[in-house]
Amino acid sequence: MIYNCSDLDDGPLASLYLIAPATDSTIRDGNGLSMDQLRGQDLQAAFSAATSCLEEYRDAVNALNVFPVPDGDTGTNMLLTMRSAVQSAADACPDGEDHSVAAVSAALAQGAFFGARGNSGVILSQFFKGFSDALTGKEYLAAPDLARALMLATKGAYSSVGNPVEGTMLTVIRMASEAVQGVDDGLLDLWGTAYQASQDALSNTPEQLPVLREAGVVDAGGFGVVILIGGALRAISGTASPSIDLSELGRFQGAANNGSGPIDSGYLDSTMEEEWGNCTQFIISSVDGLELDLEQVRKHFQETALSTVVVGDERSVRVHIHVEDTAPALSYAVSLGAVSDVKIENMDWQNERFAASGHGGVKQAAALALLPVVQGDGLAHLFRDSGCAGVIEGGQTMNPSVQQIIDAARSTGAKDVIVLPNNSNVVLAAEQAAGSEPFLHVVPTKSVPQGVAAMFAFNPEGLWQENVESMSAAISEIASVEVTAAVRGVKIGGVEVKEGQYIGLLEGKIVTAEDNVQGALRTALDLTGLSSDAIVSIYYGAGCPLSDAQSVAATLESDHPGIQVDLIDGGQPHHQFLASVE
């Protein structure tokens, strides 16, 4: 575990709080939250409200896709990450009690960390990590704390991506933070200043990123950040400041996007706990003043269970574990104190699926397992059939969370697991998962064809380090082609795209837009510079007839004698074709 609440008790700033402000020093006007400082529950309420606000604007954020492809939806990813953050805070800091901002922000950070989906979610989770670090040991959030919290949050957000790009949500976060540094103002005013600065930064994103300008949109992740800051501000100010009107956000809604409807979030929720055994959660409370030893409890469950998350303090410890048999875990808990809030969910269907896939589930665990993220029955079959320990469902428009990646990796039972994200919007979440779990490693495949190339370079008997090296080398040896239907019209990279046209992407960049799906594939493939000894693999998608793929294969073979074309039923939902050229 990276975060735990006990760290808050002895953080570097704890000494500043020898004299805690009296509770009644917080002025409340009965309409909104505190004016000059926030308590933990106020912060929680603020981000809860911000999440609701994001929910309202999710489709608008999703609509800001730069590429007119059905994409890993930024709004959905940020929302799911926020939900996880807010839920974690609600679990750790129950309603009707006083909580420190340290405890609430730590819980928010932890929830965001494990719930992070997509690149925007990962950035958001690191924002909360920084925010929480700044509030370590703090009972209240006062004006000067906000500046520091936003500064560390900005630092965290920037550190989460290898190559920070300006004109994205990073810039919006940074500008909001910079606007409040060194400003002597009340908390509410500071928050308002940050909100205004975030809007200005967002408006400016098309100036910083040509790709946004071309598409006529502002940055989607940046828009999400503005909504979150605005939503929180509205909650903090309550009805005392009716001037906070989020309707102005409407101006950021770019070109209408009618093509990509919201994803089925029910599906995502139902796949949150993919694992074997029982997902078991409970709270241990100390009885008769006997203090709980958090470290001891954590150690016990780390040794006896999977997916162990143990947080709390000497009075109350919250446990989340995955175990085959819940009885010993609960007996242990009862021996320490009063056990409450017991939740047990069976996850054995997952194990059944593993067994059905012919790989023997957790019982025949390998030392080293390969775990790809894929979407589509055909592709899932291809990866399983070729020796992967299982698959994480997800990809385009359905990005798995950090927790899902960790759970799926654990359920392989392997000593080391190499994850293939197979989508540029899953790479960061996979890397975040790897950052928290030493047994988990990532070969950053950005597309399914790259994933297949990496898989064929995989040697199950090699060390993970050797494999990461050889698999990473393998992905640089192929060209990756995708064909999908444009969900809206746009002019991008010199290519004029009309809604409904088929666009061909080479290495993630749009290279052609055509009315004919075969033509789009053929054009993109030709741009790879086909040589006579090339191997072309074409994965045809769901609803895309084999005959289309066959006719492209026939023309390729006649135009390029000696070429090898393999057709594979990928069954992927959003791409008519995926293809690789080796």
Partner: protein, 279 residues
């Protein structure tokens, strides 16, 4: 008193080398179309692969019997010779069991048995090494000890057209990880610690041959080398040509997977056996 080398037909040693070094080869049995035939005696490779590719029931193999071993050991030791008997990996075949039982039943002291942890020409190269050591003199124990010490210098890499026969024959072992039918790959396997281990999966034969050459080159410098094929002598010639940087062409042995190995390795397979220079 001479030290004589005994092996089994899974070594796939070319006949002229067997003759030249006076090696005794016990034929394994292969059961094709309900007939039990002695590998290399009752059935030759051409005939075997023709029948294998014709479909029909999957062939099976059987190790030489205890009686076969007894006859050979008795014949050799009764002339006053000592025997070093080197065989296919105990993880792949029960041949060693037959040999051990035969040894236990008679003249035990004059026979040394070695588990090569290899098969096919990699085993053949161990046998040639043993023959060379025996020619230098020394007791059968001394020869056997030197052979055992040098075992890790012998390697075998195979590029198969399919894992179908390895799987049908129940010898898939660690190569299980490379099973898969969605994409038509040409798996490269390596003999290691007595079993076939997966190495990588090139997407077609040309690349498989290319990778095979690269992998072999990584193991150089080499002292002995053999190229092996099952049904495509022309591709083997290409493979040999590609490897002439490691050894001159006239020193590279050309061999063929016989019926025993062919049962598992299938048609259109290539292989390379090497003995590394001692470091």
């Amino acid at each position: 008193m001479t030290v004589r080398i005994v092996t089994d037909s899974s070594a796939d040693l070319p006949a002229e080398l067997v003759q030249q070094h006076q090696i005794t080869v016990l034929p394994c049995y292969v059961v094709v179309d309900d007939q039990t035939l002695k590998d290399g005696v009752d059935i030759q490779a051409d005939d075997f692969y023709r029948r294998l590719q014709a479909g029909g029931p999957t062939p099976t193999t059987a190790q030489p019997t205890v009686a076969d071993f007894q006859a050979v050991y008795q014949d050799l030791t009764s002339q006053g010779d000592q025997v070093v008997s080197i065989h296919v990996s105990g993880k792949l075949s029960g041949t060693l069991n037959s040999a051990e039982q035969a040894k236990g039943s008679l003249y035990g002291e004059a026979v040394e048995i070695i588990d090569s942890r290899l098969a096919a020409m990699p085993l053949g190269l161990v046998v040639l090494e043993a023959a060379a050591l025996a020619a230098e003199g020394g007791s059968h124990q001394e020869v056997a000890e030197k052979v055992r010490q040098g075992l890790n210098l012998h390697h075998g890499l195979f590029a198969l057209d399919t894992l179908e026969f390895l799987q049908k024959g129940g010898r898939i072992g660690k190569a299980q990880a490379f099973l898969g039918s969605v994409l038509n790959v040409k798996p490269i396997l390596r003999l290691h610690e007595g079993e076939a281990h997966p190495v990588e999966r090139p997407r077609n034969r040309e690349r498989a041959l290319h990778r095979l050459v690269e992998l072999v080159k990584e193991l150089g410098p080499v002292r002995r080398m053999a190229v092996i094929h099952s049904t495509d002598a022309e591709r083997m010639a290409v493979l040999k040509q590609e490897l002439t940087g490691l050894l001159p062409a006239d020193q590279i042995i050309e061999a063929r997977f016989g019926s025993t190995l062919g049962t598992y390795i299938g048609p259109d397979a290539l292989g390379v056996a090497i003995t590394q220079e001692a470091r």
